[in-house]
Amino acid sequence: MFTGIENAFVNLPQALKADWPGNVWWHWVIFTLIAIVFFLGSVIMFIFMERRVLAKMQARIGPNRIGPFGLLQAIADAVKVLTKENITPSNADKIVFWLAPAIVFAPVLMVFAVVPFANGAVLADLNIGILYAIAIGSLSTIGVFMAGWSSSNKYSTLGAMRMVAAVISYEMPIVLTFATIIVLTGSMSLNDIVIAQGKYWFIFSQPLGFFLAFVAGCAEINRSPFDLMEADSEIVAGFHTEYSGMKFAMFYLGEYGEAVVMSTIIATLFLGGWQGPFLPPFVWLIGKIFFVFFLMIWTRTTLPRVRIDQLMKLAWKFLFPLALINLFATGLEVLTFPNGLPWYFIPVNFGIGVVLVLLWSRLYKVGWGRIEIQ
């Protein structure tokens, strides 16, 4: 019984291979549906999980009325927001104002074209998969800036400015960290990267890389403690101050969608994607995605919001040099042992990571409730 189910999940992707004549269209239809359903389902679960876990950590209860354990809260919110009035400010730039939510939302969904759910179970196994994910994922920033600029509101413009500055600053470390993974595998295809993690996951051979990617990823998708663009105490709600109704919901969806994308990419690159014993591959992938998102919620509840100068310094003076050093150290290791790193590089790399982080932390001055960088 169990092996039958497992075989079905293992054989399904092979049966739907794109190069099997006649099945190309079915492959596309099925995986498009899977990607969209997976995206919407995980966004709903992420919203529920964030609210409940946040509530537990703050000794509250959280939403628990609609559906079992409040699971359907996000759907109720969606219906509410759909029937609300759409307000367009009279001095807004109308076309850009209406276009912005679509440009924020669409790229987030596009990234799921290259995410493998099992061995070969991927809509399009691009040989530039990771590059595609980075390039398309960054497009949402343009939508956010369009929203901030077209709203004709000073706070929106400020929020959008901060967002663009933060995203382009944290783009550097995250892209360099992904390059480190490519150095290890020699391929940009996400499926090949997951297959290369058969022996051990890259979080063990790249602990510093995981740390950098996680911090930079949190900043890239504007999660707390880096959520300066919608710092409620300073600028009303950032770029979506003037939005209401369904357009606001699309920004909300896009924000959590970015969290799903970032968790998925980190889980695929560092935690072994669909690799794992006993359970079917896609269960492992979903479990890892939710684990990464749990870490993000944990960071959010623990740390206070940073100032804009600290945000910029952290990106340019801490993460960027460390990512460069990590890239070249990994390049040297790979060239010294071209047939795969021996096991003792796991503690060595861990040591390198700890030493580098401690050394660079000496640039920071902590005291009297302030953190400054010399």
Binding site: W28, T88, A106, M110, S152, W316, F320, L324
Partner: protein
Amino acid sequence: MLETYGFVGLFIIVTLGFAAIMILLPVALRFLKVVPHHPTSVKNATFECGMETIGKTWVQFNFRYYFYALLFVALDVLVVFIYPWATQIRQLGYSGLFVIAAFMGIVLVGYLYAWKKGALEWN
């Protein structure tokens, strides 16, 4: 191989359509009288916590954003060149590593100069 790009292209069209439907759904529902639509001049005014807006909205923004934008452009080009090297590192060997390190060094001189000049500060 090319047909996978075709899949991605079709998927992009589907996502754009999905986004368009989500935006236009409330507009359609407005004609069915489900979504209300009662605009007034106060409701459509710029929202600034109850205060009336003073002056124009599209003001000059902070000059410091330019520094980061310039640095970003320079270093992003560098990263674009790193990706092909990273995929072929085993074939290129030590000479490739040396070349990319020299190339990186040239760009990093500018980065260190910006650091020393205080362009990375926000003061």
